[in-house]
Assembly symmetry: C2
Homo-oligomer: 471 residues x 2
């Protein structure tokens, strides 16, 4: 059983840390983007790894829980603890230095509290690309992005956060420091602790720094929006794009007409590139080496797709401003969704070839539950859909309180039956603990618990996230 972080414990910490490490225990630390849960706790913001270690040692001694707080943009409640003894909220915000860059190695080493956009900028300044890119990149910090193995729009080409990390520095639950900040591409000396920490959502230790992989910046970039008749046509177009453009495809996103309608409804500045909004639209982004023209490649793909009956309409960005405009549409869909107010949102993945069937069966199953609008969009190239269920026109989110659990169950049961995942990129946090218990393979659940107990025997690291707290 854990103890609460009391005012007396704050005094204990005051003896260990400078005054600058203490923050008001207020929002944003106690809220989350969708406003669904309120947190609690004592907020500290250490300036360096040694201060993190001192805090963790003190918490371990007093058996007080620690909630690591990075950018606060997580969508599954991993960054706040609504119930139980008040924890220490350990914010990484002051650990925001880029420690070193190694351009000839395509490596950047930084503190865990650096904001993603600042890492992207630092890479750009070196003539390189840090490919992790997602809607919250202006506030999300790399420690949290690694702890949740963040995805985003470039996973198809560059992999998720996991694939972009070479080494980590981690403060363990007993306050010792794992110095694993290697820049090596190959190192087969023992179990893969790096990938164990990545995606552990702060339940096995606190990531305090990372060595990140940079990529060469593609010489030519481009984007196109193409109207497709169906998700199956979109998948055929993805295969065609793979044959024609190969690894040059950086992103392949799908959007349903519902998203465009929502943007028209709540986004006054919305301009559709289509005269008539198609049922399904894909956004294709390419980055090509010298000697190949993105526009030519996308025009060729459009023509081939048109001839094959996959594509009915399309627009190819003629400059960076148009490319940005296409991406702006894609990136503002989540905001439009928030304004409309969903009954239930799902971050799911499905084996690629099963996606058309899932979309059909999902709509059929939900029609049995009630009258909904479904906005299905996301990272088709990765099999990752944001499958969000909204009130019928004229109704609000609150009109569906009774249906909500059923909606979640119907969608997740279907995903599970089709060998999919109920959390493709957002993680488990506290929101999906019951889903993990319900859908997780028993042998897997046993291993997760064994690892948690072995590496955090006191259970102080982000208590209740990923795995239920033991009584």
């Amino acid at each position: 059983m854990l103890n609460p972080a009391t005012p007396a414990f704050k005094e204990t910490l005051r003896a260990l840390l400078p005054a600058s490490a203490f923050k008001e225990d207020t929002a944003p630390y106690l809220s989350e983007p969708r406003g669904r849960w309120a947190g609690q706790g004592l907020v500290v913001a250490p300036a360096n790894t040694e201060e993190v270690a001192a805090i963790v040692r003190a918490c371990a001694k007093a058996r007080i829980g620690i909630v690591p707080y990075s950018g606060g943009t997580g969508l599954v409640g991993g960054q706040l603890m609504q119930e139980g003894p008040a924890p220490v909220i350990l914010s990484l915000e002051r650990m925001n230095k880029i420690r070193a860059v190694y351009p000839s190695e395509n490596v950047l080493v930084c503190d865990a509290g650096v904001i993603l956009a600042n890492i992207q900028q630092a890479a750009d300044d070196l003539g390189r690309l840090f490919p992790l890119s997602l809607a919250s990149e202006g506030s999300a910090r790399i420690g949290g992005l690694l702890s949740t193995n963040a995805g985003g729009v470039n996973v198809l080409r560059y992999g998720n956060a996991r694939a972009l990390c070479l080494g980590l520095e981690v403060v363990r639950p007993d306050g010792t420091i794992w110095h694993g900040l290697t820049r090596l591409r190959k190192d087969n000396t023992g179990y893969d602790l790096r990938n164990l920490m990545i995606g552990a959502e702060g339940t096995l230790g606190i990531i305090t720094a990372a060595a990140l992989k940079l990529a060469p910046r593609p010489v030519g970039v481009g984007a196109a929006m193409m109207a497709v008749a169906s998700p199956a046509a979109a998948l055929d177009l993805l295969a065609l794009a793979g044959e024609r453009i190969g690894e040059g495809i950086s992103a392949f996103e799908i959007m349903h007409r519902q998203g465009f309608d929502f943007l028209g409804e709540v986004g006054p500045d919305f301009q559709s590139p289509f005269d008539e909004t198609p049922e399904w639209v894909v956004l294709i982004d390419v980055g090509l080496p010298a000697g190949l023209s993105p526009e030519t490649a996308l025009e060729g793909l459009f023509e081939a797709g048109f001839e094959a009956g996959l594509v009915t309409d399309g627009a190819i960005a003629q400059n960076n401003a148009q490319r940005d405009a296409f991406w702006h549409i894609r990136e503002t869909i989540p905001e439009a969704n928030r304004r409309i107010g969903s009954v239930s949102s799902h971050d799911i993945s499905i084996p690629l070839s099963a996606i058309p069937s899932f979309i059909e069966r999902g709509a059929q199953a939900l029609a049995q539950v009630g009258d909904f609008r479904i906005n299905c969009f996301g990272h088709l190239g990765d099999g990752n859909l944001h499958y969000n269920v909204f009130p019928a026109p004229g109704k609000g989110r609150d009109d569906y309180e009774t249906e909500r659990p059923q909606v979640k169950r119907v969608v997740h049961d279907l995903v599970h039956s089709m060998e999919g995942s109920v959390s493709a990129e957002h993680g488990i946090g506290r929101l999906k603990v019951a889903d993990l218990e319900k859908y997780g393979d028993p042998a897997k659940l046993a291993m997760l618990r064994a690892i948690k107990d072995a590496l955090d025997p006191l259970g102080i690291m982000n208590p209740g996230a990923v795995l239920r707290q033991k009584p």
Copy 2:
């Protein structure tokens, strides 16, 4: 303490398995490629996952060690146990079916005992590429390749074995089966067990099947050998190649003149592409999308490298036969090394920018120990060198018995001091347990031990590999 696999235990297994599962307890199961250690044990070859589980359950009940045996090509003794109570040697050779292919998903699912070359062929039959490629691909099996996180020549572009796997089926040390054979590209539901099992060298469970990622087959492939003045020039050429050809570079290998000399000495069919063998040679392999010519790209790189003073001579393959001939040189160096007989071989990695300094300092340090020939070659693009130390001309490996431990220490100490790894791709096995203990970060070692004890509390899985057996 473990018990030996006695004839009585063999009778216990006979009651669980068909007669076809039993093998003669002889070579090759009890030997390894370099002939340095002899194994012992009772050999069984289950036909499927259920039989594997039955064997593991019986071993757990009787507290008998299990050594998983895949292709037997490992170089660090992970596949045989020379000392201690005789184990069960569990060979995967009969689990050799490709279970399913999903061409539209670029996924292949197979048993753990499938030979790598057969997977490459199956991918090729689908018009795809399975990029894992190494000298032993004709006999290495995928279970062992994943358990050791194998590297090889295409890591630069496609990553190591870890990067090519989506899901696993694993028999746990208690005989339960983890059904983790997902084809999903994104699945953030709990800790990364897949990557924990990959590279665990069979010490946490037995991989029985894998879902593998295929890549699009590049439209045009090509290769060149270029003479460079120094390792530093080779690195500059690598950077230049990155700028000009980007992700199209599939491999970037370096070879010292010593390797060519050895080939001339022991390989009667050896034909050098150079009139006079240069001090250092790089082998560059490219695979490009439609619209780009490999020959043109390599010619352009050669000219740019020549102008920059990096390249002094070169040959560009004009057809596949020439490309194969270049690769034949590279791939036969290990065999030539074996025939010469090394004093000590090292599979190391170094941060890329430190490699020239390492090569210089390594030679200086070894000159203090004795008179040696050094054959340094390997995967420069990954910072992974095979740094092998040979007798002076006229002497033999046996003349250096007293120096051998010192040679190893000098090389590994230098690698460690330069933030490198003493096992880049071969793993720890039983050969490098002491190195891991010596050079491993204490917090890392504590986590390795905690994970081993949590997931294999009886200590029956590949006892003594990676971590020392507890008394």
